[in-house]
């Protein structure tokens, strides 16, 4: 679990959760260059730990992880911080899980592998929609 140091109030605080380490690393580097503070978590439990230490505006959550089911993590996120906007990442052809996630209060979902631009658009939209007063 790593966090960029320079926290500024106008930057979006993003929690990126996926057990595919290479994917999280490269994606976090690329997102960080676009005015977003990215915190990486490589498992469900790491993600929950990160949320306990710090507040986030948006979380990008992979639904298929080895330790905890993504939907379980989503439920816990919603209990810990109902204001948190969650964007789910799903494998191709498993839209059923994504729909369940939407019912549980997720903001939106994307199928993996996704375009960076698309992801950034969703993150911005989620941030705007869930902006804390």
């Amino acid at each position: 679990m790593t966090s960029d140091e320079n926290v500024k109030s106008d930057r979006i605080r993003l929690l990126l959760v996926d057990d595919e380490e290479g994917f999280v690393n490269v994606l976090s580097k690329r997102i960080s260059r676009r005015n977003i503070d990215v915190t990486r978590a490589f498992s469900g439990s790491e993600a929950i730990q990160a949320l306990r230490l710090q507040a986030f505006d948006v979380a990008v959550l992979d639904l298929k992880m080895e330790d905890l089911d993504g939907l379980e993590v989503l439920k816990i996120f919603k209990i810990m911080d109902p204001q948190l906007a969650v964007i789910m990442l799903t494998g191709h052809g498993s839209t059923e899980a994504a729909k369940k996630g939407m019912d549980l209060g997720a903001f939106d979902y994307l199928t993996k592998p996704c375009e960076l631009e698309e992801l950034l658009e969703k993150i911005t939209a989620a941030y705007t929609a869930h902006k804390r007063v």
């Binding site: 595919e20 290479g22 994917f23 490269v26 994606l27 580097k29 690329r30 260059r33 494998g91 191709h92 052809g93 839209t95 059923e96 993996k112 592998p113 960076l116």
Partner: protein, 569 residues
């Protein structure tokens, strides 16, 4: 392979044999049992009936003959008692009495005679010149002297004609004389002659010595003679009731079975015997037996013929079904193989997805870094960017491939949603456009506007129409043609009509196109599942799928899908 064929041939032969044996044993054994039982019962009761009839006949005639004899005796007795010796000794008076008797009875009474104590005939009335005849040595006279009433056996006597004598002895008033009457043999014989049944039935009377008392009407050409041995048996057995009627069945000298029915007459002096060949008496029964036998032979013959043809038909059908089953098994295995290949492909696609995504992102990251100032002056900047662009383009290509693989293996998404049938058809047409162009197929869409939305699974509907459109293009692959796709509303259904001008489906195959695993495509080109899945989907939706086809003219499919209530435009 040849060995296997031999094995299955012997299996079918065994099966045929077992079916034949079962049919034959199940049908013929009861037939034989029933026939034998019925015939036996019929035979027993028929025998009883015939014997009862013959006994009745003999009994009636016995009474008749006994009655005849006692009547004649009564007449003579009446004469003797009424008139006495003096009057009867007068020959003219005796002549008058004979005339009176003959007037009453016809020529039964031949003559009358009065015989004195010495056996001399003292008066005679009749056609023969027998006056003064001496009977003292005659057999009948000796009997007549000993008995008050006497009826003699039949004998030729002085006149040389068969006759018998009825006598009454009168001993009143110290006199001892005998009134004798001769009974005409022909008249008596008629009584017995009348007993005549069938071809060989006749009757006769014998005395205690077994001498014939009547002339049986035997027919020489039939070679029938009274069976002597038999009536001797009856005569020897005099212990039982003389009125009893005895029945016996014995072979004659030529070993032919004869029925003998006998009864005693004249208080046991005579025996009335009725004789008939068994074959004649039971002619009807024998006829029945012949018919039964013919039926019993013809019936099983029919059963055997039927068993052979039927078993051959059944076994042929089983053999055909076995062959079809084997083919289907092969297809199931083929389909299973395809399914596992599909799963394998999906697994590989899924595993490759993430590494490819990382590669694309890493290339993106490199692109991001190239934007920084220090690289802007690098002389190979353009080459780097081009190279990164290539990595990203090829990565996206990989992504498309894995997506297709996953789509192929994915289970149908059964979730219900609003489906605009025209939009969906347009999408499918767009997807097929490339292939259609390549096969020189002209697609002619004709959609009715403002159709209501359907509430079904989009992917299932896509599957159905994609299948039918693909089949249509397949049918026109060689020579091109027109593919008409139209949609319209009909009552509470939306009907989609897809017609091609392709090769068409032969009549023989038309009824099987919706059968699972039925395909005319070469092995490996089609699973034969497409249309059966379509049928299953449309049937589940409560719709109908119908097909009409002519060879070399084309094929038309109509798919009707119900519009659910409240979905009107």
């Amino acid at each position: 392979m040849a060995n296997l064929e031999q094995l299955s041939n012997s299996y079918y032969r065994l099966l045929t044999r077992n079916i034949i044996l079962t049919i034959i044993s199940v049908s013929i054994i009861p037939l034989i049992l029933v026939s034998i039982t019925i015939y036996y019962q019929f035979r027993t009761s028929y025998h009883e009936k015939v014997y009862a009839h013959l006994c009745e006949l003999v009994h009636k005639h016995k009474q008749n003959i006994d009655g005849f004899l006692s009547e004649k005796l009564g007449d003579i007795r009446f004469l003797a008692n009424s008139f006495g010796l003096d009057k009867l000794s007068d020959e003219s008076f005796l002549q008058d009495r004979l005339a009176a008797l003959q007037k009453n009875y016809g020529p039964v009474f031949v003559d009358l005679g009065i015989i004195n104590n010495e056996g001399e005939q003292i008066a005679y009335a009749g056609p023969f010149k027998l006056a003064k005849a001496n009977y003292s040595d005659a057999e009948w006279y000796l009997q007549a002297v000993r008995n008050q009433y006497f009826i003699s056996d039949v004998f030729l006597g002085l006149r040389g004609l068969p006759h018998f004598i009825v006598t009454v002895r009168d001993t009143r008033k110290g006199q001892n004389w005998i009134l004798r009457a001769t009974i005409d043999f022909v008249a008596f014989n008629t009584l017995v002659e009348n007993i005549h049944i069938g071809q060989t039935g006749f009757a006769f009377i014998v005395n205690k010595e077994g001498k014939l008392q009547t002339t049986p009407i035997t027919k020489p050409f039939l070679d029938i003679l009274p069976g002597k041995i038999i009536y001797k048996d009856f005569l020897n057995d005099q212990t039982s009731d003389p009125n009893e009627i005895r029945v016996s069945v014995k072979p004659d000298s030529k070993n032919r079975k004869n029925i003998y029915v006998a009864s005693f007459l004249k208080n046991g002096d005579w025996l009335l015997v009725y004789q008939q060949r068994a074959a004649d008496a039971f002619a009807d029964l024998n006829k029945t037996f012949k018919i039964t036998t013919i039926l019993m032979l013809l019936g099983p013959l029919g059963v055997v013929i039927m068993a052979f043809t039927l078993s051959r038909m059944i076994v042929n059908r089983i053999a055909r079904a076995d062959t079809e089953k084997q083919l289907m098994n092969e297809k199931v295995v083929e389909a299973g193989k395809l399914a596992s290949v599909g799963e394998l492909a999906a697994g590989v696609a899924h595993e490759i997805n993430n590494p490819v995504a990382i590669m694309v992102e890493e290339a993106g990251w490199m692109g991001d870094l190239l934007e920084e100032e220090e690289f802007q002056e690098s002389k190979n900047l353009a080459e780097f960017k081009k190279s990164i662009g290539q990595i990203q383009t090829q990565g996206k290509r990989c992504k498309q491939i894995t997506h297709k693989l996953l789509s192929f293996a994915r289970r149908t998404d059964g979730s219900v949603q609003d489906v605009d049938i025209n939009d969906m058809l347009e999408e499918l047409v767009a997807l097929s456009a490339q292939r259609a162009k390549y096969s020189m197929v002209e697609i002619q869409p004709d959609y009715q506007e403002n159709l209501p939305c359907l509430k079904f699974s989009l992917s299932e509907l896509q599957q159905v129409f994609f299948n039918i459109i693909n089949n249509a293009i397949d049918a026109m692959e060689k020579n091109g043609g027109q593919l008409k796709i139209s949609s319209r509303r009909k009552d509470n259904y939306i009907v989609v009509e897809i017609s091609d001008t392709g090769t068409g489906i032969p009549e023989a195959n038309l009824s099987r196109i919706f059968d699972p695993f039925f395909t005319t495509k070469p092995i490996g080109k089609g699973t034969g599942l497409g249309l059966s899945i379509c049928y299953g989907i449309i049937d589940k939706m409560g719709g109908k799928i119908r097909c009409k086809s002519s060879v070399d003219v084309g094929t038309t499919f109509w798919v009707s899908i119900p519009i659910q209530a409240g979905n009107g435009p």
